[in-house]
């Protein structure tokens, strides 16, 4: 009886009585959610255009952030380092295309998947080898990112928004908006969607798959870099972050592997629900449910909608 009360009644009473706290929790969840969305977005881009389940996407997030901090620690100015990192992301995209995709095209998806697992461990090993394995601090101030907080006296309490969180949410919004414009309004964006739809037909009109693959991996790399910087600024930069990056998986299950809006909404749902669960229901089981709750939610979701929230519209042949 008491436990049911704890699950179904108490949390809601708390929400009602302390609305400022609720807003705070929702905000934290929202910010985490935007970052999950970004990781998932990078993943969806690659999956749509090259049919590759990129296991390494989370690591690329960490790798990007680590390169940035690492380059800066060598005495390179922050913004120069940032541009160098963009260059590194391009090099990575090119390398993946040249050494993996090009060679393994037409092979089973599982083989490409294995290749991305290989890439995952290569990046960890390479990153640790070059920049060292110890956790680092993001060069937040050097990049000119704000660090203070805005406090609002509302709802009978205090809601505090970290400026870096606001920056993260805005960055995520800009990235998504930028990608939307890129996809829908540019020639290469159109080519990318064409490849995602029918790669043979895309080749028949002269779209080079190799170019498109480099473009998507590069785009996913840029998104990953931005995510890494924001994330690193909120905690620290180390490969332990990749555990968090793996949360992209439940996001993808929720959102569907091929849907960009699914990745965004899925990320927000996972972010918000895990923070809510942690804060309101966590104490019942001694806390720390944040780390597994998203997987639980995804599993639950699989039972009811295996194609994902917005599982791509399947067009029936007329």
């Amino acid at each position: 009886m008491e436990i049911l009360h704890g699950i179904f009644i108490d949390p809601f009473i708390t929400m009602y009585e302390l609305p400022d706290l609720l807003v705070q929790v929702l905000w934290e969840g929202f910010v985490a959610g935007t970052l999950y969305s970004l990781i998932a977005l990078g993943f969806v881009l690659i999956f749509k255009a090259s049919g590759v389940f990129n296991f390494a996407q989370g690591i690329i997030v960490v790798f990007g952030a680590l390169s940035l901090v690492g380059l800066h620690s060598l005495g390179i100015p922050a913004f120069v380092a940032l541009f160098l990192c963009i260059g590194i992301m391009f090099a990575l995209a090119w390398l993946v295309e040249f050494t993996v995709l090009r060679r393994l095209v037409n092979q089973d998806p599982i083989i490409l998947f294995m290749a991305t697992i290989g890439l995952n461990y290569f990046l960890i090993g390479f990153g640790e080898g070059v920049f060292g394995g110890e956790p680092k601090t993001m060069i937040t101030a050097e990049l000119g990112l704000p660090t203070g907080a805005f406090d609002f006296d509302i709802l009978g309490g205090l809601v505090s928004l970290q400026q870096i969180d606001i920056t993260a949410a805005v960055t995520a919004g800009v990235m998504v908006g930028g990608l939307a414009v890129f996809f829908n309004k540019t020639r290469i964006g159109r080519g990318l969607r064409a490849v995602a739809d029918d790669h043979q037909a895309a080749q028949s009109v002269g779209i080079s798959l190799n170019h498109i693959w480099i473009v998507v991996w590069f785009a996913a790399g840029i998104v990953a870099l931005a995510t890494g910087v924001m994330w690193g600024a909120r905690s620290d930069v180390s490969f332990a972050l990749s555990i968090v990056a793996l949360k992209a998986l439940p996001v993808l299950i929720l959102g569907g592997f091929t849907s960009i809006s699914g990745a965004i909404v899925g990320g927000l749902i996972i972010g918000i629900s895990e923070k809510m669960a942690e804060f309101y229901w966590g104490p019942l089981v001694g806390g720390s449910i944040e780390s597994w709750f998203p997987y639980f939610l995804a599993l639950l979701f699989l039972w009811f909608r295996p194609q994902g929230l917005f599982g791509e519209k399947i067009i029936e042949r007329v």
């Binding site: 080519g191 043979q200 002269g206």
Partner: protein, 284 residues
């Protein structure tokens, strides 16, 4: 009248398969899928500039494989040209990529249309101009395509996946035109369409050939329609060319009448019902 037009008229009057310079020369090609399945066993033919040439034959004869060998879409299906050569405008193209071929002016309209379903009709057309960058000329060509296919203009905002089979066929042809090709490889445009629509599409193809000077290499099972619009035809059977001639000559040929047009002295007959050995005996 200029000397050039006089000359081309003179050429048109002669047998179309022979005199005009060929855009495309396929010389004794052999194609293997998956390293083991031999599909084309020495196919040769020519496509003259600004002609309409038909590759005819039953399902599985190797028509699509032939077109894909030319457009170099073969590799994506693990197919390979193991012997023979293909020249376009005198240039050896065996080892080029599909992308190179489009840039050289050779575009394939694949069997089954293959429109980009989640792109609108207009976006589909624009992808056709992918290799040309975005320019003023592309906009003009979009209008040109809409003039030939007014139906596409009406539906320009619809997702291609939601349009009818005929509209998708028009979209696929229009998309190919957007590359400003000198030759279009057209694979089974009649497939799955009502006879009236087939006629309409062939009319437009003929018009494109005459007005835009696009050379057409057509693969068709619908021998009847194909021979009415083409100048010259090759009949493929089992990966080999078994017969060729002007469209007129083929239409009059007794074997073609019997096996491919379903007409014969004994009355109408479907060539599928004719025993295979009999067909082989006649032509090999």
């Amino acid at each position: 009248m200029s000397a050039e037009t006089l000359q081309s008229n003179a050429a048109a009057d002669a047998a179309p398969g022979q005199t005009r310079e060929p855009v495309l020369q396929v010389n004794n090609i052999e194609v293997i899928y998956d390293h083991v399945i031999l599909v084309l066993k020495g196919v040769s033919f020519e496509v003259p500039k600004e002609g309409i040439v038909a590759l005819l034959g039953a399902n599985g004869a190797g028509k699509s494989t032939t077109l894909k060998s030319i457009s170099n879409l073969l590799r994506a299906e693990r197919g390979e040209i193991t012997k023979g050569t293909i020249h376009m405008n005198g240039k050896l193209t065996n080892d080029l990529t599909a992308n190179d071929m489009v840039k050289l002016g050779c575009v394939q309209v694949m069997e089954g249309r293959h429109c980009f379903e989640h792109l609108t009709i207009e976006e589909n057309l624009l992808t056709g101009a992918y290799t040309r960058g975005s320019s003023r000329a592309v906009k003009d060509d979009l209008e040109m395509v809409y003039d030939y296919f007014p139906r596409l203009k009406e539906r320009y905002k619809s997702l291609a996946g939601y349009t009818s089979g005929g509209e998708q066929q028009m979209c696929a042809i229009g998309r190919a035109l957007m590359a400003r090709p000198s030759i279009i490889l057209l694979d089974e445009p009649s497939m799955g369409l009502a006879p009236q629509l087939v006629e309409q599409i062939f009319e437009i193809v003929k018009k494109l050939n005459q007005e835009q000077k696009v050379t057409i290499l057509l693969a068709e099972q619908n021998t009847n329609v194909a021979l009415r619009y083409a100048d010259y035809g090759y009949i493929l059977e089992n990966g080999r060319v078994v017969l060729d001639g002007t469209a007129e000559a083929l239409r009059e040929n007794e074997d073609v009448k019997e096996f491919y047009l379903g007409l014969s002295s004994e009355g109408r007959k479907n060539f599928r019902e004719v025993k295979h050995y009999k067909r082989r005996k006649r032509w090999l």
